[in-house]
């Protein structure tokens, strides 16, 4: 099987959905611009990428959206040092906090889903503390201008986000540490028996997740020049939907950055499209939910069919040998 053909087949479902959404969006709204809708939501893409990494490793980082909010707040609060500097600080803090989470989860042997439910509340509280309960703004709004410089239809911020996503893609598919994450997710016992270091894998996965969350949040705040303690509340659901629609398996060990990006593109187009149509936000939520269910049921149906085929094949073999 040629590799182009194989590549196509892996992402077939997502590509079909993507085309359908694209066509319907253009059909419904002649003013729809796919580039700007995706560009505006790159932060969501970055967060989805981070979520994908932990899921591939067989874990869950529910706190990623709260990390984004926290980072945004830190970036704005420290903007007196220069916005670029404060953004970088926020991202570094995010990576460190993420690594700490990963280390704790590995050392305690605790379920990451349970742990990150707690830390998601914790981080949201820390966001409130930094903001002192109010939306905060940078002192000098012109500082955000450098982030809005456009190259083509992409702002410099979006380019940064895209670079990170592509970088993660390369990391996951070509480096040893990245592939070890797949091993930990696809067969944890076997991977550890083979010698993969579980602790390091967790620290790496959650460090990346924290970093992506921080980057996403910092991107939003840097562009808008403000941070809000209750911001990005729906980010988690959107990111989760993006990742699942894109085809990343909850079981771990499967999916790529391409899957995450395709899923993000679908979700982004749906959201932007309905915003362009002037309909309310809940319409896109409805469709996202339906899409999620369809993808998941389709997956289940496929495995059900292949299992049934396998049984029938065995029966035929047995009958023939008689």
């Amino acid at each position: 099987m040629s590799s182009v053909g194989a590549w196509f087949k892996t992402y077939l479902l997502q590509i079909i959905v993507l085309i359908l959404v694209l066509v319907s969006m253009y059909g419904l709204n002649p003013n729809f611009h796919v580039e700007s809708s995706i560009e505006r939501l790159i932060p969501l893409g970055v967060i989805a990428a981070g979520l994908a990494v932990t899921m591939i490793a067989g874990e869950f980082d529910l706190s990623i959206a709260s990390m984004a909010a926290f980072s945004g707040a830190v970036a704005v609060a420290l903007s007196g040092l220069g916005l670029l500097v404060s953004v970088i600080i926020a991202i570094v803090v995010g990576i460190l906090l993420g690594m700490l989470q990963g280390w704790a989860i590995a050392k305690l042997g605790i379920n990451s889903l349970v742990f990150t439910v707690g830390t998601l509340i914790l981080l949201r509280g820390m966001t409130w503390l930094v903001c002192n309960g109010l939306a905060i703004r940078v002192d000098d709004i012109t500082a955000t201008d450098m982030f809005k410089v456009k190259i083509g239809f992409l702002t410099s911020l979006s380019i940064a986000g895209l670079v990170v996503i592509i970088g993660l893609g390369i990391f996951l598919s070509r480096t040893r540490w990245g592939r070890e994450l797949y091993a930990l997710g696809g067969g944890r016992h076997e991977a550890i028996a083979a010698g993969v270091r579980y602790n390091r894998g967790m620290i790496v996965a959650f460090g990346i997740s924290g970093g992506c969350g921080a980057l996403g949040g910092a991107l939003v705040s840097a562009k808008g020049g403000s941070a809000d303690p209750s911001a990005l509340g729906v980010m988690l659901v959107a990111a989760l939907s993006a990742v699942l629609v894109g085809g990343i398996s909850l079981a771990g060990g499967r999916g790529t950055m391409v899957s995450a990006f395709l899923g993000f593109a679908i979700i982004a187009m749906l959201s932007a499209g309905r915003a362009g149509l002037g309909t309310k936000a809940f319409v896109s939520e409805l469709f996202i939910g339906l899409l999620l269910l369809v993808v998941v049921l389709f997956d289940y149906f496929l495995s059900f069919v292949s299992e049934r085929d396998r049984r029938n094949k065995l029966r035929k073999l047995a009958a023939a040998a008689a």
Partner: protein, 329 residues
């Protein structure tokens, strides 16, 4: 080796240790609540008053009822449902509409609860097929939310000219009805878990799905029952909430899902299944509500309250996890 493995290796006396850790796990939270209560009464003005206690209990009721219901899902090994808010709001909307249409709040309550159970059963069936609970409930939540918003056109739904507040405001001995319902619901849930075939099967399924299957327990049937119990709790909570607020809107109750999940976790029910009880989740909800109210009385701003809550949840979850691991082979 993880810290938990080191701890269990070091402490070799298994059965005695098990009893000790079990006792600590069961009584830690109630003792903590009593401790907070005593400290608050001593140091926080306005705490030791009937109105304060009552509002704590009222705060607990809605989250508590759903937490008790969610326990069934967690016990069965199905983690949790992330679609609580959407189903609750939907049910609340049904309550107000039917109440408006019939003028009778009992009929309205019945229909609202049935509606919640129906959408819960569908989710339960899909989960019973083998699909992941988190995704299914998340997707269902989005769909239900969207439907609710479309049906209500995003507007606030109010009961015009009909009084539907009875459930929320009716008082016996000065204590509002929701609190009674919370207590009764918890007691009934506990009884069903301990004394019915279904309750036992839920426990067994969560403890070890393979063994359950080979013992003749049907994962599909048991999961559907767990979701039924859960949906009932959502319906009841929704009716009580809608009664209290006199109105409902698609965007309401945004934090409910997380509050409920936190209550179950803090209460000590194991997320892997087979270990826990509805009473623990009820106590978890009570604990969270107590701390929240104490902080409100101490004039601690919302952000810091959130932070303290986060620290408490993380700390308790970690400690309970360590205790549980240390007490088993």
């Amino acid at each position: 080796m993880t810290i938990t493995e080191k701890i269990s290796l070091r402490l070799q006396d298994q059965s005695g240790l098990r009893r000790r850790t079990d006792t600590i796990r069961t009584w830690a939270l109630p003792i903590l609540i009593v401790l907070v209560f005593v400290l608050a009464s001593a140091f926080v003005p306005e705490f030791f008053k009937f109105e304060t206690i009552r509002s704590i209990l009222l705060l607990t009721s809605i989250t508590g009822i759903v937490a008790v219901g969610m326990t069934a899902i967690t016990l069965s090994g199905n983690l949790f449902s992330l679609g609580v808010t959407a189903s609750a709001v939907f049910s609340g909307v049904i309550y107000i509409w039917v109440g408006q249409g019939t003028g009778n709040m009992f009929i309205a309550a019945a229909v609202a609860i049935v509606a919640a159970v129906v959408i819960g059963l569908i989710q339960g069936f899909i989960v019973g097929l083998g699909l992941n609970t988190v995704i299914v409930t998340l997707a269902a939540g989005s769909i239900i939310y969207g439907l609710t918003a479309i049906l209500t056109k995003g507007e606030v739904v109010q009961a015009q000219g009909v009084s539907l507040e009875g459930f929320g405001t009716f008082q016996i001995f000065g204590i509002p009805l929701p609190i009674y319902i919370f207590v009764i619901f918890t007691a009934v849930a506990w009884f069903l878990t301990e004394h019915t075939l279904i309750g036992r099967n839920v426990h067994l399924l969560g403890s070890n799905k393979n063994t359950a299957r080979s013992s003749g327990i049907s994962p599909m049937g048991t999961t559907i029952w767990a979701f039924t119990a859960f949906s009932l709790s959502i319906g009841i909570a929704a009716v009580l909430q809608a009664s209290q607020m006199h109105q409902i809107q698609a965007d309401n109750l945004p934090g409910l899902t997380m509050d409920v999940v936190a209550a179950v976790l803090v209460g000590g029910t194991a997320v892997t299944g087979g270990d826990g009880s509805p009473i623990k989740s009820a106590i978890g909800a009570l604990f969270i509500a107590t701390i929240t109210q104490v902080m409100v009385l101490m004039s601690i701003p919302e952000g810091q309250r959130y932070f303290v809550l986060g620290v408490v949840v993380v700390a308790l979850v970690v400690v309970l996890h360590l205790l549980r691991k240390a007490g088993t082979r």
